[in-house]
Structure formats: C-alpha cells, structure tokens
C-alpha cells in the first residue's frame, strides 16, 4: 500500500496537521503561523477536489483529488518534521506511484485520452 496514493492520504494529512498543532500549541512566530496556513490550504483543496469528484464523475476528477491529497500528505510529512523534529512513519511501498497520476490527468486534458484506453 502506497501511503501517498491510498484513499486515506487526505485523512493522514489532516491527522498530522492536528498532532503537530497540539505539539506546537500556540505561536507568535509569523513563519510558523503561515506554515500552518499553507498546510491548511493544501488539506482544504484536496478535500474540495474529493467532494467535486464524488459529485461530478469526469474520467479524471478522482485522480486529480488523489494528486491533491498526495501533495497535502507530502507537505504534512515535511512540515511535521520541520516543526516538531519528528516524523510519523507512512506506509512504505512504491506500488501505484503518484508520478503517473499527473500523466493520466495530463493525457486526458491535453490529448483527450481517457484513463486505461490504448494510446
């Protein structure tokens, strides 16, 4: 199971945000504060795309939501380490890689090729 592309990637990004927030508690540091703002945006945009995919079944809407969730989780993992000095382990395999999701989305929007069809 690849942590970045599994269905729970978004939940995990949210959990890391919450656990990091509990560790940091409060801060006056403008850079720490804005890091949390950036993090929240990455989580919200992934959530918005997931909601969109659930109501508008375009061929790649779910894949776009997966990319957003994966990027939110990558952000979360780096920000957790930066702000707490610790890193929560994520599921460690390389199956179903994120990098090919961009290809699927791009090939659909640039070339009209639906996922799974022969090129």
């Amino acid at each position: 199971m690849n942590a970045l592309t599994q269905p729970t990637a978004l939940d995990q990004a949210r959990q890391l945000l919450e656990s990091t927030r509990r560790v940091v508690q409060k801060s006056d540091d403008p850079y720490v504060i804005s890091r949390f703002g950036d993090w929240q945006i990455r989580v919200e945009v992934a959530a918005a795309l997931l909601e969109y995919a659930q109501t508008h079944a375009t061929p790649v809407a779910f894949t776009e939501a997966q990319i957003a969730a994966a990027e939110a989780l990558l952000f979360a993992s780096a920000a957790e380490f930066e702000l707490t000095g610790q890193r929560t382990a994520l599921a460690p395999t390389l199956e179903d890689p994120l990098r090919w999701k961009y290809q699927i989305v791009g090939n659909y929007h640039l070339n009209g090729v639906a996922p799974g069809s022969a090129v």
Partner: protein, 398 residues
C-alpha cells in the same frame, strides 16, 4: 463620460441566466482581448455591452428588483469574463463592492434610489485607494458633512473603473476619523479622472488617478461606510472573492493557451516522439496545472457559499469563516495564475514567446492583479486561526 448610461440595461432574473449571459459575453470579449492589451485600447464599447447585459446588477436583492444571485455565481461570472479579458473582469470589482456597502450601510431610501440606478445600467467606479497615505487602510482624503451637503477633498490612485463610471464613489474620513463614501456624479464640478495608469499588466482597466477638489454632494449621496466593518458583515469577503475570481479566470485562460501551444510544439529531440503533445514531461506538466486550476475553482465555489452564509446570517463566526475560505481562494488563485501563465511558455517552446501571440499578457496581468493585496499575509491569516484561534481582522482586504 456622461453621468448617465446610453441604453437601459437588461434585467437578469436568475443565476442560470447570469452564467449564460457571461459565457456569451466572454466569447465576444476574448476575440479582441489581445489587441486591446497590445494597443492599450480602452474597452469603452465592451463596457457598455457588459453593463447593458445586466451582469452589473445581479447582486441587487430581490426585494429591490434584482436577481440576488449566489456569490458562487458572482465568482463564476467574474471568472468567465476574466478568462477572456481580465481587465474587463476587474473593472466591475469596486462596483460590486459598492453595491454591498450600500446594502450594509445605506438608508432605505438610498438603497431604493441607487439599486434602481444599477438595474437601469449605471456603473459605479471608485476613488478609494491613495498612493501616498500611510497604508491601504488609511486615507488623507477628508469629507466634511455640513447641514445640507457634504464636501470632499483629496487625491486618489488605483481608481479602477472611475474613468468609465457614471457615479464615482469616493471615500474620505471625517473629523473623528470615520470613513464615509460620497457617491459623486461623474460630471460633478471638482471631480477629475486622470487616465494615468501605465502598469505593464491589466493595461486597459484605466486604473488611474482621481482628484477631488471641493466636490459637493447632497447628504442623500453620503453613506457611513465604516459601519460595514465596525460590525461583522460580508463586505470584506465580497471584495476579496472578486479578486480571487479574476485571478482564477487568468489561470483558466492561461491554461487553455498552454494546451493549444503545447499541442503545436515540436517534439524535443530526446523524446523520440513524432509530436510535441506526446512528450511525457509535457503531459505530466499539463496534468499538474489541471488539478491546480480545478482545485482553485473548487475552493472558489466553496468561498462563494461561505459568503452567501455570511450575508444571510452576519455574525462574528460566519464572517470569519467567509474570510478564511476566501483567503484560501486568494492564495490558490494567485499561485495558479502565476504558475500557469509562466508554464505556458515552457510547454509552448520558444515560438510561443514571439510578439504576434502576445501571450505574455497572461503573466503580466496575473503579476499585476495579484498585487492588489499580498497573498503572503493570507497564509498568515489562515494559520493564525488554525494555530492560535485568532479570527481574521475585518477590513476590505479580508
């Protein structure tokens, strides 16, 4: 510019009609957008068509004869127009803001009077910002309210829309430092609009200067604008969602061009492909832009719903929530517009930078318009709520 529209405006009746009209107008405005930018040809005829379409009146409440559309629709309308021509998308931004300030702080009689004018096709400009005051929220312009009239004196800049307006709302502070808006007729003595905007982007917004030299208005033309922020109202989020919608539109327009030019690009020698559109890195880069643009659009729609909620039930929480989600849209739209308008050239190759295509207008417009207020403070605004539980400050930029 006269103080009256030449033709009465159509009255739009529903959200669906607003989208339909905007889609049709955007297709027409797209045709000469590049020429207008290149020649800095001010869009006088286009603006007449734009306001006569009824789109400038869609936020007027039903009780006053308007369609009172959702802010999801307002954002979509501005996005559609801005994708075609972001200068045209920007010109109504203050008009829509003034309609809301009137709703929040005008008297019943003022609402009836001015909302009727807007539905008839009158356009508000703005003489709000000043280039020389201490910061964006302070004004050196003075308004003095007398027994039967008010008088206003000052110097304004970044006055988008003023040149083409029928009424120029001008903000000044009274002796106590409270901000009032005087709704000045475009041909009023003492009001001068200067076409001095020479920025490298948003070139045809005519966002130049206004001087107010002892301009007199009747008291019926003065509204206590400061009340829109003394109490929690949707006014700040409304002003901001329009900014975000313009930048989302620029991103959408740039991505469309990126795909057209990426399809035409030659294949790179090392790709061993027959066509540029088969390049695996080009395909993935388009994939990256697509999800970012769609994510921005999805957040913009959520922001519209949050603004609707703040309008329906204005309180500390609904207004803070609207500011927070609109701030997300602001950050994402700024990031995406700048990214798409730069990637456009990377994927189109050197031929895409030739002068005849004028594709740099997307980046010039994105870079210029996203300076309206700095996105860097929006990350802070959101983080301060997430981490410290602090609600956003209430002003016209949140």
């Amino acid at each position: 510019m006269s103080a009256h529209p030449q033709h009465p405006a159509h009255i739009i009746r529903s959200d669906a009609e607003a989208i339909e009209v905007a889609t049709r107008l955007a297709a027409r405005f797209a045709v000469d957008a590049s020429v207008r930018d290149r020649e800095r040809r001010l869009p006088v005829a286009e603006l007449d068509e734009f306001s006569a379409s009824g789109l400038w009146g869609i936020t007027i409440p039903k009780a006053y004869g308007g369609a009172e559309v959702s802010y999801v629709t307002v954002a979509e309308v501005i996005k559609l127009i801005a994708a075609a021509d972001p200068s045209l998308g920007q010109i109504p931004q203050n008009h829509l803001g003034v309609v809301d300030i009137l709703l929040q702080t005008g008297s019943e009689e003022q609402k009836r009077h001015y909302f009727g004018k807007v539905l008839a096709g009158y356009r508000f400009g703005n003489a709000f910002s000043e280039a020389k005051s201490k910061n964006a929220g302070t004004f050196d312009t003075q308004i003095r309210v007398h027994a039967d009239h008010a008088q206003i004196n000052g110097e304004k800049f970044y006055c988008t829309g003023a040149l083409f307006a029928h009424i120029v709302p001008a903000v000044g502070t009274n002796e106590q430092g409270n901000a009032f808006i005087a709704l000045v007729e475009r041909d009023a003595p003492g009001l001068t609009v200067i076409d001095s905007w020479d920025g490298f982007g948003q070139r045809t917004t005519a966002s130049g200067g206004v001087t107010l030299d002892g301009v007199k208005v009747p008291l019926s033309a003065v509204i206590p604008a400061h009340l829109a922020f003394d109490q929690p109202t949707a006014d700040g989020p409304i002003s901001q969602i329009i900014q975000a919608a313009i930048d989302t539109g620029i991103a959408v327009g740039a991505l469309e061009q990126a795909k057209i030019f990426a399809r035409q690009a030659r294949p790179w020698i090392d790709s061993q492909q027959d066509h540029g559109w088969q390049d695996p890195f080009t395909i993935a880069a388009i994939g990256d832009l697509e999800w970012r643009v769609h994510g921005t659009e999805a957040i913009l729609a959520k922001a519209g719903k949050a603004v609707d909620q703040a309008l329906a039930e204005p309180n500390e929480d609904t207004v803070a929530n609207a500011s927070l989600i609109v701030a997300q849209a602001k950050v994402l739209s700024a990031e995406t517009a700048l990214l798409a308008s730069s990637k456009l050239f990377e994927l189109g190759g050197t031929r895409s930078v030739t002068g005849k295509h004028n594709l740099d207008r997307f980046w010039r417009n994105a870079r210029t318009h996203t300076l309206h207020d700095p996105a860097r403070w929006k990350y802070h605004l959101i983080g301060n709520f997430v981490l410290n539980g602090v609600k956003p400050a209430r002003h016209a930029w949140n």
